[in-house]
């Protein structure tokens, strides 16, 4: 059970992981479209008031490709094993599975009332909105579940990196952190050019 939650890549990599992973990215984009969720960066999650399906798919693919690119380059530079691009791409795509759950949770925990409330309070934009205690409770649960999903996704991405590139120890940790930072920056730049701003965030 623990292995399937945190390191499924010991048993699943290559083409099968890539097919599952691409399925996850597309299903996530569809769910995010209906639950008004955006993943506009490798480790970014935002709720918004409206999204486009094509924008969500583009964002999911950019997030995946950016991290795969940096992880592959890092593997070529630092790993003593002969690594395969298909393993890197497949495992990194699969590692985005928690995003799908985060998009599902948005249905239950986040509503536009709270979003407009915080926009009005923090940015002084829009109309004043009344929110209830249950809105706040649901919002808090939503934030908690989102952070849990993001944490789980980062663990999966790291394990995917270790397995696909045969990396271990401090070298693995530091190079992975660098990969995530560079991939986050690149994904943000690409998304800003390729995906138009969607709704209120």
């Amino acid at each position: 059970m623990k292995k399937w939650l945190f390191n499924p890549f010991e048993t699943l990599a290559g083409w099968s992981a890539l097919i599952i992973g691409l399925g996850v990215i597309f299903i996530t984009a569809v769910i995010a479209f209906y639950s008004n969720t955006r993943f506009d960066g490798v480790i970014d999650f935002h709720i918004t008031t409206s999204t486009s399906l094509s924008g969500n798919i583009t964002e999911g693919l950019i997030d995946w490709l950016c991290l795969s690119l940096f992880v592959y380059v890092s593997g070529l530079l630092f790993s003593r094993s002969s690594i395969r691009l298909i393993d890197v791409a497949g495992t990194q795509a699969m590692a985005r599975f928690p995003c799908m759950l985060a998009a599902v949770f948005s249905f239950f925990f986040f509503n536009n009332n709270v979003l407009h409330y915080f926009k009005y309070k923090l940015l002084n934009t829009g109309q004043p909105v009344q929110i209830t205690g249950s809105d706040i409770l649901l919002f808090s649960l939503g934030m908690l579940s989102t952070f849990l999903m993001l944490g789980w996704m980062i663990v999966l991405m790291y394990r995917a990196y270790c397995v696909s590139c045969n990396m271990k120890g401090a070298k693995a940790v530091f190079s992975f952190v660098a990969c995530v930072i560079f991939a986050e920056i690149l994904s943000k730049i690409l998304i800003s050019f390729l995906v138009p701003t969607q709704g209120l965030e």
Binding site: F9, E10, T11, L12, A13, G14, A17, R80, S81, S82, I83, R84, D87, T91, V163, S164, N166
Partner: protein, 96 residues
Amino acid sequence: MSIEKKMPQVCPSCDTRLKVKKLHCPHCATEVEGLFTFPVLASLSNEDQSFILDFVKTGGSLKEMASRMKLSYPTIRNQLDDIIDRIRLLQKQHKN
């Protein structure tokens, strides 16, 4: 029920790698005494030796190994690379 004995690789007291001092023929009871170093492959752990046997039996196919062991290709490749590292280390120790 016979117990499968594991050949000790290192000294249980000080962890130094052991050498063979005496060989015995179970047929005629001839004994040979000397100081022999374990071959590199025999110095590996039982798990590593078993992995190498399976690897040879599959004709050196990592894909087939992965399929038989129900593990992913990179996991098997990583195990092989780790064994290669241990063999290199043992070879270095044997030379010294």
